[in-house]
Subunit: 326 residues, 2 copies
């Protein structure tokens, strides 16, 4: 069923039907006639053909490193809400932690298809910068601070300082750290730096063996905690770069009957669902993930509406969640 068949049935020209669809000039009678035919036939215009003409797809590409993560799924939920309110659809691409696929998806998306791209950033390489700057479609990067595109990010450094101060305030002096690759500037580098700087400020040493690095998964915490304890028998607490890593650490400690926080204190980042349920509940920081997605989508839609809007970079706050694990 296409526009000219409808026109024929309604006894008008295809152009009239098009005008009907787009609220153009039309007499009441014709309007009514067309309305009736469309209702009876259940006709809907082809969005492909519309796009071919108007160049508007109403599609936003969203690229994420993984979907089964508390924090990311919240960001996506925030994005999803704003987009659907504005009549946009979300094309979701999951790189499954294969960084190179980010570039592929950015390309695929930008070639055609989407009007804008939201990238949940992890490791942003020079190749990213080059590719992103070359795009015709607007981009917003979430979770990492960059200077060549609009971005929304969390105050990872200060959050880390906050947690470290809190741990030190609780009397911990010998604190270990389990993090992720520093190639991830937000989660890997800044959180670690905030910790180290705070320790230094208080005159506390952190030797090389008290710092471990691994993946974004629970295994990281589970496998590095015993190493940390082996290398630092007098360890009093562990700061983990994410709640998920902290969960892995807790799993190991529980299994080995090491009491939290009496023997070892634990902190994470992200305030995931499990944090408040655990016994003892996990001390962590709350980041505004949902808002991050929401705000990111809004900024992207603004950029689409007026392409010459200057880049914005928004730093979101955080809240210390002082629970019982330290």
């Amino acid at each position: 069923m296409n526009i000219s068949q409808i026109a024929k049935l309604a006894g008008v020209s295809p152009a009239a039907v098009s005008r009907y669809l787009n609220n153009g000039y039309l007499s009441e009678e014709k309007r009514a006639a067309i309305a009736r035919v469309i209702r009876e036939t259940g006709y809907t215009p082809s969005s492909q053909a519309q796009t071919l003409r108007t160049k508007r797809t109403k599609l936003i590409g969203v690229i994420i490193p993984k979907i089964d993560s508390d924090s990311i799924s919240q960001v996506v939920a925030g994005i999803s809400q704003v987009l659907s309110e504005q009549g946009y659809q979300m094309l979701l691409a999951n790189t499954a932690n294969q960084n190179s696929r980010e570039l592929d998806y950015i390309n695929t998306f930008s070639q055609n298809m989407v009007e804008g791209i939201i990238l949940l950033g992890t490791i942003l390489t020079p190749a990213h910068k080059k590719l992103l700057k070359s795009l015709k479609v607007p981009v917003v990067v979430l979770g990492q601070s960059i200077d060549y595109e609009s971005c929304i990010y969390h105050d990872d450094y200060q959050a880390s300082v906050g947690l470290a101060e809190y741990m030190i305030g609780k009397g911990c002096k010998k604190i270990g750290y389990i993090g992720v690759t520093e190639k991830d500037k937000a989660v890997g580098k800044l959180r670690k730096q905030g910790f180290l700087d705070t320790m230094t400020k208080h005159g506390l040493k952190v030797c090389e063996s008290a710092i471990k690095t691994g993946s974004f998964y629970m295994e990281n915490g589970y496998e590095n905690t015993p190493l940390l304890l082996r290398d630092n028998p007098d360890l009093e607490a562990i700061l983990c770069a994410t709640d998920t890593i902290a969960l892995g650490a807790i799993k190991y400690l529980n299994q080995n009957r090491i009491r939290i926080p009496e023997e070892i204190g634990i902190c994470g980042f992200g305030n995931g669902r499990a944090a408040s349920i655990l016994t003892p509940s996990l001390t962590t920081v709350h980041f505004y993930y949902w808002e991050c997605g929401e705000e990111g989508a809004k900024i992207l839609l603004e950029k689409i509406a007026s392409p010459d809007t200057p880049n914005k970079s928004v730093k979101l706050g955080f809240e210390l969640v002082k629970n019982e694990s330290v």
Copy 2:
């Protein structure tokens, strides 16, 4: 940049370029010439125009009730993997638990855009049935058993029987239940029925006040647990229809220093990330969520490839995760 400009630059006809793009008949020299021009210009074909001709969008619509859920995000991850392997993109629609929006999205998707739809089912009404049966595009329903479309679902009933048997085997006689609306056949009705049937089979009574119903969120468990305890002072255990609900119950019990499992046993469904981390760890059943998404996507792609494939309905198994909470 379009196909005829490329053709002009390469000194061939647009048709030749099209053939180049689609692996048609072409001499080596022309092929080389076209390849060079395409490389130099960075040309990519317009997927809209391609679609307009071929009717193929390479888009799959996926409709979910919420994104920030352990189980759902795993299903989506499974779907995502299969689709991307096959060169399909995923259009994700999040209804945010507004059931009516499911119908809207099914309509939007099916009108144009997508070649197939995956629906993560919750409450399937007669309106759903009518709409789904009227669609031209293939559909696969995940998580609910229905007879008019292909579906992949879990053995909710037997899983519930398994948990109930296990609890009874542990000596519990007075068991309460916190569930969700029975309009959700899989999670609401079957899980409850499996529990009730098993209790009856063992000659154990479950009075009305030992059964509570609420949302899919933690609040359900958190708010209904005290009611359950008030109405049934001699309660020995609670079976919760989801891990998330169980987490809410555990939160309440922890806050009120009611020991698990000594005073009250707890079970859930789903084997979410938190289950094994909790102390005591949560007894639950493992469902194959990732595989559910994977299998669903495969079946959908089969249906797209050969539209007259008969409907399939696949029941996935489960595994009892015997942890410490009961």
